[in-house]
């Protein structure tokens, strides 16, 4: 891709922190593997979220101390976790009934590409010879009430991840509600991508330049908040 000026947007932690601000108290949340997992660290004081892991636990707590884990108490990323007071275990059909049935409030996922109509590609680059693996991503985006994507704004090569149309195989059609990147928070609206908020020190033109589809400006300037 074209040479890009270095812009210092949000770090991964700051992206996760920004996203965490938008989750109301009491929501039932499924966090994907990777950056989404960081969100749990930044939930503002006074709010309690209930974490769901699709392999059969509601009320998931943080990782146990090193060596204290139970190989049969793991999350969807197959890492050791804990269960908090008020937790419940259940089987996979019940777990995905929670997902497909719209009982979870929020799914936070990474992305390869997001199209301006909300299409998401996050499971396969479609490379020949690659082992295809989908897990629960298609179920999450089809079923959960709100889908937030958290991702770098561009690939390592500088290619936009927010695009007119996904070139990779889809995870779901018209499923993404909002995207949190290092550069901005962007809503998927019936009119397309709309900037909700620019990261500190980042201007609209820079974000537009690195986005593969037209961006609409924020409806309310941040200063009016």
């Amino acid at each position: 891709m074209t040479e890009q000026t270095a812009v210092k947007g949000r770090t991964r932690e700051q992206m996760a922190q920004r996203l965490a601000l938008d989750i109301p108290n009491g929501w039932y949340v499924n966090l994907g593997i990777g950056i989404p997992e960081l969100v749990a660290r930044f939930v503002p004081e006074g709010r309690t979220l209930v974490y769901h892991t699709e392999n059969g636990l509601l009320g998931m707590g943080p990782s146990p101390d090193e060596g204290a884990g139970d190989p049969e108490l793991i999350n969807a990323g197959k890492r050791h976790v804990t269960a908090l007071p008020g937790a419940a275990y259940f089987h996979h059909a019940d777990s995905f009934a929670m997902i497909r049935g719209g009982h979870l409030d929020l799914s936070v996922l990474g992305a390869l590409q997001v199209a301006h109509n909300g299409d998401l590609a996050n499971w396969s680059t479609g490379e020949p010879g690659a082992i295809p693996a989908v897990g629960g991503a298609m179920d999450l985006v089809a079923g959960v009430k709100k889908v937030f994507v958290i991702t770098q704004h561009t690939t390592r090569d500088g290619a936009p991840k927010l695009v007119e149309s996904c070139s990779y195989p889809l995870t779901g059609q018209r499923v993404v509600d909002r995207v949190y990147t290092d550069l901005a928070v962007i809503d998927v609206t019936p009119e397309g991508f709309r900037v909700v908020e620019l990261s500190p020190g980042v201007d609209f033109e820079t974000v537009q330049e690195r986005t593969g589809a037209p961006l609409l400006p924020a409806l309310t300037p941040a200063s009016a908040d």
Partner: protein, 246 residues
């Protein structure tokens, strides 16, 4: 801090609206949330669609809700029980419509509704009047009928123990429809004999995970329909005195 407790059965059902669909747990009297139903009678919502396996006995609980002319449609499998006189009268009069569904199909439709499954094919009822007008399709030579998932605005269910997160345990065969109705309703209201703090219920033994439950109300000593009927009660009492009912 998650705390789904509400102060009273009346608070619990305060926002049930006219025209709402309401799933009501229970198989006969086992699992029937009598106190929530009586609170719903007091509350006054009408033109309700009730989804429940039966139509109640005597003039208490579900039968009393029907008798109060609040229910214009029931979706159920067996609207006849011992001491069931209220529904037959309303049905013959044409006030209350009946959608009769085989019991297992009713359970599966509710579970499908709760699980986000829009419709499914079942062999039950093929070739019977209850499959009339429905799509039939063969699967490996076996004809099946297409049935649709069922959801509701509210579910009223009865548990034995509930915690502040809404995790619920039941008593014996009182479990029946409650766990699937909890899944299928947009707002699930649980009356439980015992309400405990989060952590007091074994997470391995939870039957209904809290995600399916919106409100929990303690009803320490819940009434059984049969006992009320044996005592000659009806609801509301002949001379209603609201101060005593709260």
């Amino acid at each position: 801090m998650i705390d789904k407790r509400v102060a009273s059965v009346h608070d619990a059902v305060a926002d049930v609206f006219d025209g709402a669909s309401v799933m009501i747990g229970g198989f006969g009297e086992a699992g029937s949330p009598v106190e929530l139903i009586h609170a719903l009678i007091d509350q006054g919502a009408r033109d309700l669609t009730v989804i429940s396996n039966n139509t109640g006995s005597g003039e208490v609980g579900l039968a009393a809700l029907l008798k109060a002319r609040r229910v214009t449609k029931v979706i159920c499998s067996f609207p006849k029980t011992a001491n069931s006189t209220v529904f037959p009268e309303l049905y013959r009069e044409g006030f209350t419509e009946l959608e009769l569904v085989p019991q297992g199909t009713l359970a599966e439709r509710i579970r499908a509704g709760g699980a986000g499954v829009r419709a499914f094919y079942t062999p039950t009822a093929v070739g019977t009047p209850l499959a009339q007008g429905k799509e039939i399709r063969d699967f490996e030579g076996r004809p099946c009928v297409l049935e649709h998932g069922l959801t509701a605005d509210f579910a009223l269910i009865k548990g034995r123990v509930a915690d502040t997160h809404g995790n619920v345990l039941y008593n014996k065969t009182a479990r029946n429809f409650a766990p699937i109705m909890a899944m299928a309703a947009r707002c699930t209201i649980v009356q439980a004999a015992s309400v405990v703090e989060a952590g007091a219920v074994d997470p391995e033994a939870v039957v209904t995970p809290g995600i399916f439950v919106d409100r929990v109300v303690g009803v320490a000593d819940p009434a059984h329909e049969s006992a009320l009927i044996a005592a000659g009660m009806s609801y509301p009492p002949a001379q209603p005195d609201r101060s005593e009912r709260a």
